[in-house]
């Protein structure tokens, strides 16, 4: 092995291609960068940018038919770009360790942690079982697992998500590698655990002088741990520099756009600036005031007016789900998804609900939308208790309350054309004459959400996640609702697409005077979108307040804890930001 002086890993003009029946798709073109010992290099970009592909290509884990078309990958001067089979197997684990995204599936559920660790150590380092056992104990200690002797004998299901990721890291370190590739190591974890895992990776890299490529889409992760950052855009490396420089003084147009799209924690913006770089959006052209969309059903609106400016009142709502069924009542177990929840939503405002997974925020949304019937309590919409209505009586109210769902990939019927998806509610509620009038309205709606009227003939699978979410919004608007529930509408999307969708929602709210309920686990997003916020935990609403007051001086202990875990990106470039000056309050 010729040891050239220089970097631990050097990637030189790497090109990766995916040949398919429609021609050759280039996933990565002409990417060069290097990683030094003990350094963490962040590889950031949005889905489809090719960042994971680079990580996989280094250790020949490209899923077929992908192949390295040209370029070199030098590991301490030795070219490993075109090694396959046995040759690359000697490098995997021994010299390059890999940390996968989802700790729930990357461990074998049928083997104990000890078996998995010892097997890895024997395969990479050799030696006796005794040595391997000692080594695995030591590894478990170094990744911060308490009581390692006991934990070694356990199976993966006995570990929490964060603990499993620690085990995955221990396995990655088992062969004493010189380089670690971590592919979105914290994406599947809760915020609080995310922080600890990143800290662990950082310390281990420093102590052991191991280089690390950290693949991620999350600017918060980048800001926290990396030394240098490479920004990928559509298979190209557009910018590389020290983390501080990239975050504070981005040079490339795309990087600037990406950073401006990150929901900020320090100021509330009116709109996200300059996000048009990412996905082409058709211009929106209809005049809503004089359009079908802007007109309400007068008689219904007159009958059901908001009382004292309060459109929706949730009063002492309880709902429990059975977790263990049994014949006798005393043996049944329940989980309280909604525990004495009460709040009000004022007409025209955006009310936010925030909480971690399982806190019951989606349950409340589904109760309001009429998907679940609460065990007790009432939902008052403009003075009418919805929970007491029969299915038939409720239909006109269902039109008033619509919902945008979380997952853009499952919320649209894959067998229906986009036109039919949007026309379906109009037809059902007979809101317009069938034929030309309905067709015109659907075309205008598509135009208005930025997709262009021509996309009606296509099917959902022909669109990207962000575009699908636009279709979903158009469908929700097709009944001309006054109240729109958004259940994590952007959590499956990239940041820049998220910014576009949030802009669209803000615009629609202004134009149509919608009242919105916005549900998210993402505090910065909530801050950007909502006028008032409720914090939920274990089915209980622990605190409700004006957004700015809540962020400035949280009252409840849990709110304080949540806020402290929020990634702080205070030094982000502020170029081109449009703030809401009268509301700008510094974060405590």
């Amino acid at each position: 092995m010729s040891k050239a002086t220089g970097s631990l890993l050097e990637i030189r003009s790497l090109c990766i291609e995916f040949p398919s029946r429609h021609g050759v798709a280039t996933a990565v073109s002409n990417v060069s960068f290097s990683v030094e010992k003990g350094e963490i290099v962040g590889l950031v970009g949005e889905s489809g940018a090719g960042k994971s592909t680079i990580g996989n290509a280094v250790i020949d884990l490209l899923s077929p038919p992908g192949r390295v078309a040209s370029g070199d990958v030098l590991l301490e001067g030795e070219n490993i770009a075109n090694l396959h089979g046995e040759a690359i197997r000697r490098i995997r684990g021994r010299r390059i360790g890999f940390i996968f995204q989802d700790p729930m599936t990357s461990l074998n559920p049928l083997l104990t942690i000890e078996t998995q660790l010892v097997e890895t150590i024997l395969a990479t380092l050799g030696g006796t079982r005794e040595e391997a056992l000692n080594k695995s104990l030591e590894l478990m200690k170094s990744v911060g697992i308490p009581e390692p002797e006991l934990r070694l004998k356990q199976y993966p299901h006995q570990f929490s998500g964060g603990m499993r990721q620690r085990v995955v890291i221990a396995i990655a370190l088992a062969g004493d590698p010189e380089l670690i590739i971590a592919d979105e190591p914290t994406t599947a974890l809760d915020v609080s655990i995310q922080d600890q895992i990143l800290e662990l990776i950082r310390t281990l890299c420093r102590e052991r002088q191991v280089g690390c490529i950290l693949v991620t889409h999350d600017m918060g992760v980048i800001a926290n741990v990396t030394d240098r950052v490479a920004v990928m855009y559509k298979g190209n490396l557009v910018e590389m520099g020290s983390t501080q420089q990239i975050l504070e003084r981005p040079q490339h147009e795309y990087t600037r756009s990406l950073i401006s799209a990150v929901p900020r924690t320090d100021v509330k913006l009116k709109r996200f600036p300059r996000v048009e770089y990412i996905e082409q959006v058709q211009s929106r052209s209809i005049d809503v005031k004089n359009h079908w969309l802007g007109q309400q059903d007068e008689s219904f609106a007159a009958e059901h007016k908001a009382e004292n400016g309060i459109l929706l009142k949730v009063d002492d709502v309880n709902l429990r789900f059975q977790t263990q069924s049994a014949f006798l009542e005393k043996n049944r177990r329940y989980v309280k998804a909604s525990d004495h929840v009460s709040f009000e939503v004022r007409e025209g405002e955006t009310f936010g609900l925030v909480g971690e997974s399982g806190s019951g925020k989606s349950t409340i949304a589904r109760i309001i939308a009429g998907l679940y019937q609460p065990d007790s309590g009432s939902i008052n919409y403009a003075g009418t208790d919805l929970t007491r209505l029969s299915d038939k009586q409720r239909i006109p109210f269902r039109r008033q309350i619509q919902m945008v769902f979380q997952n853009p990939y499952s919320s649209l019927n894959p067998r229906m054309s986009v036109h039919d998806i949007i026309a379906e509610p109009i037809r059902f509620h007979s809101l317009a004459r069938p034929g030309r009038e309905t067709d015109g309205i659907v075309a205008d709606l598509l135009d208005h959400v930025g997709l262009g009227a021509a996309s009606g003939v296509k099917f959902p699978h022909e669109f990207s996640g962000g575009q699908r979410q636009r279709i979903s919004i158009a469908r929700a608007l097709a009944t001309r609702p006054r109240f729109l529930i958004c259940d994590e509408p952007t959590s499956a999307l990239d940041v820049s697409v998220q910014a576009q969708i949030l802009n669209l929602l803000k615009d629609l709210q202004d134009e149509l005077g919608l009242t919105m309920m916005f549900i998210s686990h993402d505090l910065p997003v909530i801050r950007q979108m909502c006028d008032r916020v409720g914090v939920m935990r274990y089915g209980k609403l622990v605190e409700v307040n004006e957004t700015e007051t809540l962020y400035a001086s949280p009252q409840h202990e849990y709110t304080r804890e949540l806020l402290s875990l929020m990634p702080h990106l205070d030094n982000l470039s502020r170029e081109g930001l449009e703030t809401e000056p009268e509301r700008e309050v510094a974060l405590a």
């Binding site: 038919p65 009429g370 269902r398 649209l412």
Partner: protein
């Protein structure tokens, strides 16, 4: 990642088919292609039997008992007039096989349509409403499945024959076979549909329709059912093959089609008495036709199942 080449939007229906994944995989699978060609030939032969067959085996006037049990044309005693020889009543075996395939395919197809109709309604209802309705309908399906198809069919057909006599039975045979096979096998469909309805029901597009206020009928048939069609298509090919086999088995036992209108199974059965006297062709040739027919259907079904598996596209 794969932005490189996006094909232009197909214009006509034919172009759309040519660009579809199924067509693409079809061209790359020799087994599927050969199976499809054989199946098409057999179906065409059955459909065009009145045109293709040298003789109408149902017309007694065309038969001559002197021609009975002639071996195929290629053997020494064969008659060039009868390519595959004749059966015990002097019918041209080729003609009889063409007409018999027609009967077998008709019974298979209609029995499966009946199965599918019952199964889809039951499975959709059970899966969508869940709870007690689901429990009741699925236990019903379990009970139905615990009787073997053949047992039910034999009892029903035997009772019918005994009660109404052979003459009425001969006239009603085809209808009876379709009903018996159709009713005996619906749980297969019900189970498959129910499983996919349970998966689809979880998806947010179904919740969206409920938020809109749509009724259960509209949600079930207009929104959920179209998304459950691929498994139906896959089991249908296998079920047609199964129904044809069931029919053949029943006919072989003398409970199927009458000798005057033989299906493939009845033909095999009628030749079986003579097999030890050297007249093998009456049994063996229809037997080969039956095996090939069922085999190509199963092969196509297997292939369809692989292609319809969405995991295949992700690679």
């Amino acid at each position: 990642m794969n932005e490189a080449v996006v094909p232009a939007r197909p214009e006509t229906r034919w172009q759309r088919i040519r660009q579809s994944n199924i067509y693409y995989y079809f061209l790359r699978d020799k087994v599927a292609m050969v199976s499809a060609v054989i199946l098409l030939l057999m179906v065409a032969g059955a459909l065009l039997a009145p045109v293709l067959a040298p003789q109408n085996p149902y017309d007694m006037a065309q038969l001559d008992i002197m021609n009975s049990e002639l071996p195929p044309a290629w053997s020494e005693e064969g008659d060039s007039q009868f390519l595959l020889g004749t059966d015990d009543q002097g019918r041209d075996l080729l003609s009889t096989i063409l007409y018999g395939t027609r009967i077998s395919l008709t019974i298979g197809l209609f029995a499966v349509i009946l199965q599918a109709f019952l199964g889809i309604v039951v499975g959709l209802t059970a899966g969508y409403f869940g709870g007690r309705i689901d429990g009741f309908l699925m236990r019903l399906a379990d009970i139905q499945l615990s009787f073997s198809t053949m047992m039910v069919a034999i009892i029903v057909l035997a009772v019918f024959q005994a009660a109404f006599g052979m003459e009425l039975y001969s006239r009603m045979a085809m209808l009876m076979l379709i009903l018996v096979i159709g009713i005996a096998e619906w749980p297969q469909y019900a189970r498959t549909i129910r499983a996919s309805v349970l998966a689809e029901k979880q998806k947010e597009y179904v919740e969206a329709t409920r938020v809109m206020g749509f009724g259960p009928g509209r949600i079930m048939f207009r929104h959920i059912l179209p998304n459950c069609l691929s498994p139906i298509l896959v089991i249908s090919t296998v079920q047609i093959a199964n129904a044809i086999i069931s029919e053949a088995a029943l006919s072989f036992l003398g409970l199927g089609m009458p000798p005057s209108q033989p299906s493939l199974g009845a033909l095999i059965s009628s030749g079986f008495e003579y097999i030890f006297s050297g007249t093998w062709w009456i049994t063996v040739i229809p037997g080969i036709v039956l095996v090939v027919l069922v085999l190509v259907m199963n092969l196509l079904g297997d292939w369809l199942r692989d292609v319809m598996n969405p995991k295949l596209y992700k690679g």
